[in-house]
């Protein structure tokens, strides 16, 4: 066999094992996206089928991890994501301006509260659950940004949407998470009762509870 043929084969093997090195990260992300182990496995398998099939389109010297995640995200969006009408509804509810203002002032009060530091010990479990409950598009952006460390530009390529959309989804997603954590701290009694009353009186009841209720009814 010609030398070049041997080199090609080595290059191909190197490429394949480099792809498989990202299996754990792809699986963890697929699990976040689908929230179900058997669908996550299916999604990862589909992703690798495409990865090996479209290996030709990968250019050496570019970011392999970003390329793999682009295929994963694409496969998820096309085959696994929830239906469009549900998504639109959720986006509309979560973008009410009143929701923004309430969140801001609450978060400020909360963040400035010295008692809030106790909160970190509860953080992980609540955050885990809250993240899983985010609408698909918001969750995907948060996972790609915070868990996998991709840039806004990389995420916009993965999701095939403008950078502005990535930023607004990230913004909305994190606000929802922030709000969930504050609600949790209130429920766990970390923030004092008078503080709760104060917050309740300044809040429209049209926010997250409503949002959750409509989501439950809608799905």
């Amino acid at each position: 066999m010609a030398r070049s043929g041997k080199r090609e084969k080595e290059e191909q093997q190197r490429f394949e094992s480099a792809c498989v090195e990202h299996l754990d990260a792809l699986y963890a992300t697929a699990l976040r996206m689908t929230r179900n182990t058997s669908n996550a496995e299916e999604l990862v398998q589909d992703t690798y089928v495409r990865v090996f099939r479209f290996a030709d389109s990968f250019e050496w010297g570019t970011n392999l991890k970003a390329w793999l995640f682009r295929i994963l995200t694409n496969t998820f969006i096309n085959n696994y994501r929830h239906k469009v009408h549900e998504r639109r509804y959720l986006e509309r509810v979560a973008t009410e301006p009143i929701y923004d203002q309430v969140l801001d002032s609450e978060a400020r009060k909360f963040a400035s509260d010295p008692e809030a530091h106790v909160f970190s010990s509860f953080f992980k479990k609540e955050l885990d659950r809250a993240l899983d409950e985010l609408p698909d598009d918001y969750r995907t952006v948060v996972v790609l940004s915070d868990l996998q460390g991709f840039s806004y530009k990389e995420i916009s390529q993965m999701m095939e949407c403008p950078m502005g959309t990535v930023m607004s989804r990230l913004h909305r997603g994190r606000r929802i998470l922030q709000r969930e954590l504050i609600d949790h701290a209130v429920a766990a009694g970390i923030v004092s009762v008078s503080e709760v009353e104060q917050k309740k009186s300044g809040r429209e009841p049209t926010d997250l509870k409503e949002f959750r209720r409509s989501r439950e009814n809608g799905s």
């Binding site: 191909q12 699986y27 479209f54 400020r108 909360f110 953080f123 868990l147 930023m167």
Partner: protein, 254 residues
């Protein structure tokens, strides 16, 4: 910059995506504003907590083996092979031999069966890409060898109006399954073969076909027929009628 403006730039600031000029403005504000400073600390903490959430998550071994065993169809130099369905030569359809008993509905085992039907319909509805391409089903059986730990025989085609599209590895209730796709009368039909050792495939509508039990189910407009034979399940999913699916067991000689 005021507090309301800071909130707009907080994400990009925490993510290190803010351009230099804006960053200086944000930091100037944070230097003298306590609540914005506290909010930034909260956001940073949230980001780093999220970053660590999935530490230690590893792909299960069976998935790793499956991925490592995937065919390298589009190598770094080979063009992607384009699959074209080839019509199968005409062959006489076998005479259908089955008896449709009274549609009995048993309650025991109904729920686990529902989960199996869910999986089957989901796999069928998604039109997943095939790892092994048709049109020759006899090659599919050898393709599965060594990939699954149960016997797979890919049904031969006896119908003039049927073709074999391809095969892939799949799962039913986290159990490995051989997944094959046929086209019959222009309708896509998915055949899943999997061992039933730990699965309850009972309940719902049961009929006897050629002395074997066939369980019928339906979900989201799709019909499912599962035949159990010597601890193996052969499940057909399609938008074809249940009667047509039952007849396929014989016609495809499953």
């Amino acid at each position: 910059m005021n507090c309301a403006q800071i909130v707009k730039y907080l994400d990009a600031y925490v993510d290190g995506e803010l351009e230099a000029g804006r960053m200086i403005e944000v930091e100037a504000h944070l230097d003298h504003c306590e609540t914005c400073g506290a909010l930034t600390v909260l956001r940073r903490r949230m980001k780093s907590e999220i970053a660590a959430l999935d530490d230690g998550i590893v792909a299960p071994d069976h998935l790793r083996r499956r991925v490592e065993g995937l065919p390298r169809t589009g190598t770094r130099r080979l063009k992607v092979a384009i699959f074209a369905a080839v019509p199968i030569a005409a062959a006489a359809a076998l005479l259908l031999v089955f008896t449709v008993g009274p549609w009995s509905t048993s309650e025991a085992g109904g729920e686990p069966m529902a989960a199996v039907v869910d999986d089957l319909v989901q796999r069928h509805a998604r039109e997943l890409p095939m790892e092994f391409k048709g049109p020759d089903p006899s090659l599919a059986a050898s393709w599965f060898r060594g990939k699954v730990d149960f016997p797979v025989h890919a049904p031969r085609l006896k119908l003039s109006n049927a073709s074999f599209q391809g095969a892939r590895l799949s799962s039913v209730q986290a159990h490995q399954a051989a997944h094959m796709v046929y086209t019959v009368d222009g309708h896509r039909v998915t055949l899943m073969i999997f061992p039933v050792d730990n699965l309850v495939v009972r309940g719902g509508n049961e009929v006897r076909v050629d002395g074997k039990n066939v369980v019928l189910g339906h979900r989201n407009g799709y019909n499912v027929a599962v035949m159990i034979d010597r601890d193996m399940a052969y499940a057909l999913s399609s938008d074809l009628s249940p009667e047509r699916l039952i007849s396929l067991f014989t016609e495809l000689s499953i």
